[in-house]
């Protein structure tokens, strides 16, 4: 019998589904994370839960690590292959299986792109709110595995808040469904919640049941300019104190504003310290009133100017400034290191100032933008990966930023996940007991440790990675 996993894969899958050519493997050696790269042993493009089960059974038998990947847009190295691994790619499991307009749910395969779900929902007057920056590219499977957020977190929550059920294949090849279309369900532990945000370390998700909500009828957008960041922060607090929950409250700092203006000349003032982009959605009458209140509050708290979009076209124009943040900064330097330290909303000005000071200390360029409403910041370092000294300084700065975020009662990752890049910070952030429980859970689901090993925390020491047939032939 043959003990080589690659030849066994070839025997069980159609030839076009198993990829081993070096040129192909190079193209699966990275995800959206800067710098990280590792060639896998093979890539399998699965098309059904049965194929996923077959692959995992074979991997278990051979003790081969399996790294699950959707579109590979992750920013913490979650889908970067580990040495000797097989990449399980869900890109071809991209069908919307059912849209249930009575129960307001949609059932999809993991390779369906986030935006496809949003568009499908929209076509029947429904709404799928989670909108990570990668929404036109990233898969729902990936969104579930990283518990992706987006711009609408404050009002609408994140991916977790829309997952009603999951079909999961375990490392053993067993397949089960957790959750259902019921709003209320307390039959046993909520296993689906364990898989959300588990970064491919507990099982492989093969079907996802998502909740949809009615589409808001109206939307209003405001762009507010401040000379001091504290005034922006005070505005945000005052808006929430006034019992208004806008769907977006985006923030741009001075460096980000300058990068955007240099690149796209959209007319942002270069001498301001902060810009807020506020959006209210819902019933037209309520939206009108909220927008007016927000404008008033902004002006009361020192805003230099407020632009209220008159129509959709103008709103799109205002949103362009925010959408330009990453492109504008990405053009400044070859390597863009995008972090996602998150703190309680009230601590945001402190955090932004700390990021700016730390960047100065390490002689680095950093632009910070993010979701002011939910405290999720994106300090973005502009560097060059071919300059090891600079990359080292980025690492030092990021370490200080994470430590400070945790001190302020925040977290090292709001929406990108731990993956490879943040695992050394995890014990400090959540504590040893928490990490021990995570490891015990991992062992319960994946005793051999073949699912995305070395992500979130280092590989499990015991319960060994054993080869089923050591030297047998």
């Amino acid at each position: 019998m043959n003990t080589d996993i690659v030849s066994e894969l070839s025997a069980h899958f159609p030839p076009e589904a198993v990829i081993t050519q070096p040129e192909d493997l190079f193209a699966y050696s990275y995800d959206g994370t800067p710098i990280l790269q590792q060639l896998p042993k093979a890539v399998v493009l699965v098309t059904s839960p049965e194929e996923v089960a077959t692959l995992l059974r074979l991997a278990s038998k051979h003790g081969t690590p399996v790294v699950t990947r959707g579109s590979g847009t992750g920013l913490s190295g979650g889908s970067v292959p580990v040495e000797g691994s097989v990449v399980l790619c869900t890109a071809r499991m991209n069908h919307i299986l059912e849209l249930d307009t009575d129960n307001l749910t949609i059932m999809v395969e993991p390779g369906v792109i986030n935006n496809e779900v949003a568009l499908r929902a929209d076509s029947v007057g429904l709404f799928y709110p989670p909108d990570p920056g990668s929404m036109k590219v990233s898969t729902i499977g990936g969104n579930v595995s990283e518990n992706s957020g987006g711009l609408r977190g404050l009002k609408y929550g994140v991916t977790r808040d829309y997952v009603m059920g999951l079909e999961v294949v375990l490392a053993s090849g067993e397949t089960f469904f957790t959750g259902n279309k019921c709003v209320k369900d307390v039959a046993g532990y909520s296993l689906k919640d364990l898989f959300i945000g588990s970064e491919g370390t507990l099982g492989v998700v093969t079907k996802i049941l998502l909740k949809l909500i009615p589409r808001p009828a109206a939307r209003k957008t405001l762009l507010v300019v401040y000379e001091r960041m504290d005034e922006a922060a005070a505005t945000v607090s005052a808006i929430i104190a006034a019992k208004i929950i806008p769907c977006t409250m985006e923030f741009l700092d001075r460096t980000t504003i300058r990068c955007i203006e240099n690149y796209s000349k959209v007319g942002l003032p270069l001498d301001c310290d902060a810009i807020l982009l506020l959006e209210s959605d819902g019933h037209p009458a309520a939206v009108d009133e909220e927008a007016q209140r927000m404008e008033q509050i902004a002006l009361e708290h020192g805003a230099r100017s407020v632009s209220l979009a008159k129509d959709v076209e103008e709103a799109t124009k205002l949103m362009t400034a925010r959408r330009m943040a990453i492109p504008a900064m990405a053009r400044v330097a070859p390597t863009t290191i995008l972090e996602d330290a998150t703190v309680p909303r009230s601590k945001l000005p402190e955090m932004v100032r700390f990021v700016q000071k730390t960047a100065e200390k390490y002689k680095l360029t950093v632009g910070t933008f993010g979701h002011f409403g939910d405290g999720n910041l994106h300090p973005t370092f502009l560097a060059n990966e071919r300059n090891p000294d600079e990359i080292h300084r980025v690492h030092e700065a990021v370490t200080e930023i994470f430590t400070y975020a945790v001190e302020l009662g925040g977290t090292i990752s709001g929406e990108h996940g731990i993956g490879l890049t943040k695992k050394t910070f995890l014990p400090g952030a959540i504590g040893e007991v928490n990490v021990r429980i995570l490891r015990e859970l991992k062992r319960a689901f994946d005793p051999q440790g073949i699912l995305n090993p070395g992500k979130i925390f280092d590989r499990l020491p015991s319960a060994g990675v054993t080869t089923a047939h050591p030297t047998a032939n």
């Binding site: 040129e23 193209a27 050696s29 959206g32 493009l45 579109s71 390779g111 990668s134 590219v137 990233s138």
Partner: protein
């Protein structure tokens, strides 16, 4: 003279490094969309290029095949947040592939030599062949040969292409346009050069005439050298970097680059390449400066018309089948030159035409230069998709601004038995101006 742009290993490293592998290009890439294989995506291709640049991988046949599977539609450049110069990477890769000869076999070698170096560098010879093809088509010989089944005697690859061979016009550009034409009435506001192209010159010389007419109607003195060289895009896109530089020099010699206000092209594929002369000849001491001026002055016709505030016509084009119109965006206009609003402005200015937007209007139609010849299967898939969207608009007129797309859509519709007229936006504008006089 070779250039640092002819090899990935000598190209400025920052061009390769600019890709941050975020993946935003994936959903816009027609080949990735078809296969969902990362290697068939821009991000995957750049990863391979970088592996070659870093000498972690050899330039293999598989890489070469991959780079010829790429359409070069440049949709990825529109989607790219980091501003990666994919077109430069694409051309450099193909130049390196041709230099390495990994794809060489005698047939490919001689076909390429004959077409790229023999025919498309010699405008007079190209016109002679065009003339013979015209006589063959116009005399009825083509129909006779087809009826007699002579076509079946041809090699199978040529047999498949034979029905697609474009119909050559009875008159070429130089027989329709004088070297210098001035507006009949009104004073001269601009002096412009007009590029007549290769395919455009033989198959769509009427579009060149229409372009000249529209320019004249908008106060331009039009300079059209009677013998012009291929712009070199065919060569640049197919790994013949040196020939493409030579052709750029010849064209620079033909025009009073410093004196003209603009140099006008009406073929998107040519325009996208013509605008890179500055970069192409940046290391050429004799030509660098004029090439840079050329790059600034070279304009697509729709871009120029909108820039000068063209006169909106007051009459509807005569003899147009129906008023229902849609617009297909040539890749090298919308992605290559970022020109999207201007052609629509022109179409919307014409009385009697109702523009219905085409779904996926910026998605490649599969023509992609000579892609439909070298990758017929993928090309056909894209054409079917395009025709499906066109059918859904109910349009009977499709406007598009590139000869490749023009022929591809026209042939596709004909094969499907659909009555669709394909027209260049500038032709529609010229028709409207002419209708004013009637």
């Amino acid at each position: 003279m070779s250039s640092s742009h002819d090899s990935l290993r000598t190209l400025d490293y920052s061009v390769v490094q600019q890709c941050m592998h975020c993946g935003f290009c994936l959903p816009t890439c027609p080949t990735y969309d078809a296969t969902h294989l990362e290697r068939n995506s821009p991000r995957g291709r750049i990863a391979l290029m970088r592996a070659i640049t870093d000498e972690r991988m050899d330039l293999t046949r598989t890489f070469a095949d991959e780079m010829y599977f790429c359409l070069g539609c440049l949709a990825c450049m529109t989607a790219c947040p980091a501003g990666v110069e994919y077109s430069q990477l694409f051309e450099t890769s193909r130049a390196m592939i041709e230099e390495s000869a990994v794809l060489n076999n005698p047939t490919r070698h001689w076909t390429r030599r004959l077409l790229l170096k023999g025919l498309f560098t010699r405008p007079r010879l190209l016109r002679l062949i065009g003339r013979l093809l015209y006589l063959y088509q116009a005399s009825g010989l083509q129909n006779l040969f087809r009826r007699l089944g002579f076509v079946k005697l041809l090699p199978s690859r040529i047999q498949q292409l034979e029905p697609q061979s474009p119909t050559v016009r009875p008159k070429f550009s130089h027989q329709l346009i004088a070297p210098v034409e001035r507006p009949r009435n009104g004073k001269i506001q601009y002096r412009v050069g007009l590029l007549t192209g290769c395919v455009q010159d033989l198959v769509f010389s009427n579009i060149n005439r229409d372009t000249a007419d529209v320019l004249l109607a908008n106060g331009c003195e039009v300079h059209t050298p009677s013998v012009q060289f291929c712009c070199g895009s065919l060569h640049g896109h197919n790994g013949e970097a040196e020939t493409s530089r030579t052709l750029a020099q010849r064209n620079l010699d033909l025009f009073d680059v410093e004196g003209l206000d603009a140099i006008i092209t009406n073929a998107a594929g040519c325009g996208s390449h013509l605008k890179t002369y500055g970069r192409l000849l940046a290391e050429d001491k004799r030509y660098a400066e004029r090439a840079a001026i050329w790059s600034r002055k070279c304009k697509d016709i729709s871009e120029f018309l909108v820039q000068i505030g063209f006169r909106a016509p007051t009459a509807a084009p005569a003899n147009l089948p129906v008023d229902k119109l849609t617009y297909h965006e040539a890749c090298h206009l919308c992605h290559g030159q970022k020109i999207t609003a201007q052609p629509r402005r022109i179409l919307k200015s014409i009385p009697g035409l109702k523009l219905t937007e085409l779904a996926e209007s910026t998605w490649c139609c599969g023509s992609a230069g000579i892609y439909n010849i070298i990758q017929p299967e993928m090309s056909q898939q894209l054409l079917t998709r395009k025709l499906g969207h066109i059918a859904k608009t109910g349009a009977t007129v499709v406007a598009t601004a590139n000869p490749g797309c023009h022929l591809q859509i026209e042939n596709g519709a004909k094969t499907k038995g659909e009555k669709i007229h394909v027209l260049h936006p500038v032709s529609l504008l010229a028709m409207a101006y002419r209708a004013e006089a009637e």
